[in-house]
Symmetry: none
Subunit: 123 residues, 4 copies
């Protein structure tokens, strides 16, 4: 369900966050669905529970999942993230540097659009 890449700089817990989000976007996980417990997912992914817990905390903070004490963890009713100004700006910052690299590689606006489109479709 989630593929981890241990080499590379991306923190494991962030990969879990994105993995869950990907499952939501692809409708493999729907609002109300249960997701594995911290312990179970940790076992499946062969990592320590602390790392999974960190990911779940962040997902809950973002409103993607909800934990119900004694019952488990579930996909939120509206797992969409609100596009508020602050969040958009953060995304803008994250996009800035790779787009700059593409520009340095000689990519014009058209090529850039195609490039991001192809990534969008893969999700």
């Amino acid at each position: 369900m989630i593929n981890l890449e241990f080499k590379g700089n991306k923190p494991i817990y962030e990969q879990i966050i994105e993995g869950i989000k990907l499952n939501v976007m692809r409708r493999y996980l729907k609002p109300g669905d249960a997701i594995p417990s911290v312990r179970k997912l940790a076992l499946d992914l062969k990592i320590t529970p602390g790392t999974v817990a960190k990911a779940y905390q962040e997902l809950e903070r973002q409103g993607v999942i909800e934990t119900i004490r004694g019952k488990g963890t579930f996909i939120a009713e509206k797992p969409l993230i609100k596009a508020d100004e602050e969040r958009l700006d953060a995304v803008r910052q994250k996009l800035k540097s790779p787009i700059m690299e593409l520009k340095m590689m000689g990519y014009d606006k058209k090529l850039l659009k195609e490039f991001v489109s192809s990534i969008y479709d893969e999700l």
Copy 2:
């Protein structure tokens, strides 16, 4: 010439790298131009020379600048970064996560393209 953000978690040396690239893209720095010496830029930015040196070394590795022993550092004749497959893949990975966030916010492909276009134009 270069603005540093000490708060964020982006390493200072990376901010220097992007700052120089930005100056190159905006044609404030042209091929053959000298850039500030390691020590001078360190003084200007109020950081240690080692941090600037690290940034310059990475820029040289990428072919953006060239250092001439005992003389200084200069913008390369062709400060373009080679668009080899490996590098493109790295950029792809970097773009993936913010694009995913936009998708989670409900952005469709058209909005995404507009968004990245506006960032591209700012550079």
Copy 3:
């Protein structure tokens, strides 16, 4: 495991790089094997961790080793260096001057080949 020569003018971090490569070539270190942590190797070699870190980063850039965040550093699955044109040209440049010296000493092609063969076998 690694012998350092502090007198010579060869940077310590380069000696570490070559030392690791030597261990890989001689199969003392195999793909997947862990190599000493930055701190441990620094203690062993009686140098500062920063110097070891610099060596490890360059080795990773060359694809010889891989670091896993929070876990350690390991020999890559395929610790071969890619023989792209750029790298071959760099090696060519490095070989040029010592070969010229041999020629000045009266070495002909046959002797030269024997000489480099004997070095190759030592590795």
Copy 4:
């Protein structure tokens, strides 16, 4: 007569040394021939006289050239370098690291020999 490469790590004075030696090996400069004065060569190469002086000093130390006070500098009668143990060992050391890189690139002994042969022929 001598081509300098300002970018790249090789010191200018070493490039001069090798340049003179190359001219000797190719018989463009023969024993007894005069070579340019420090000042003239410095002007030609557009560098400072100190750098040329450093190169000439080293060449004289190696017995390749001879300075006659008030008359100028000349190619020695026997500009061959003696192949003593010490010097051979130094060359061996210099060859070691690039040969190791070739081995890491997958070069076998046969390929290595061809590689050095081609360099030898270029000189």
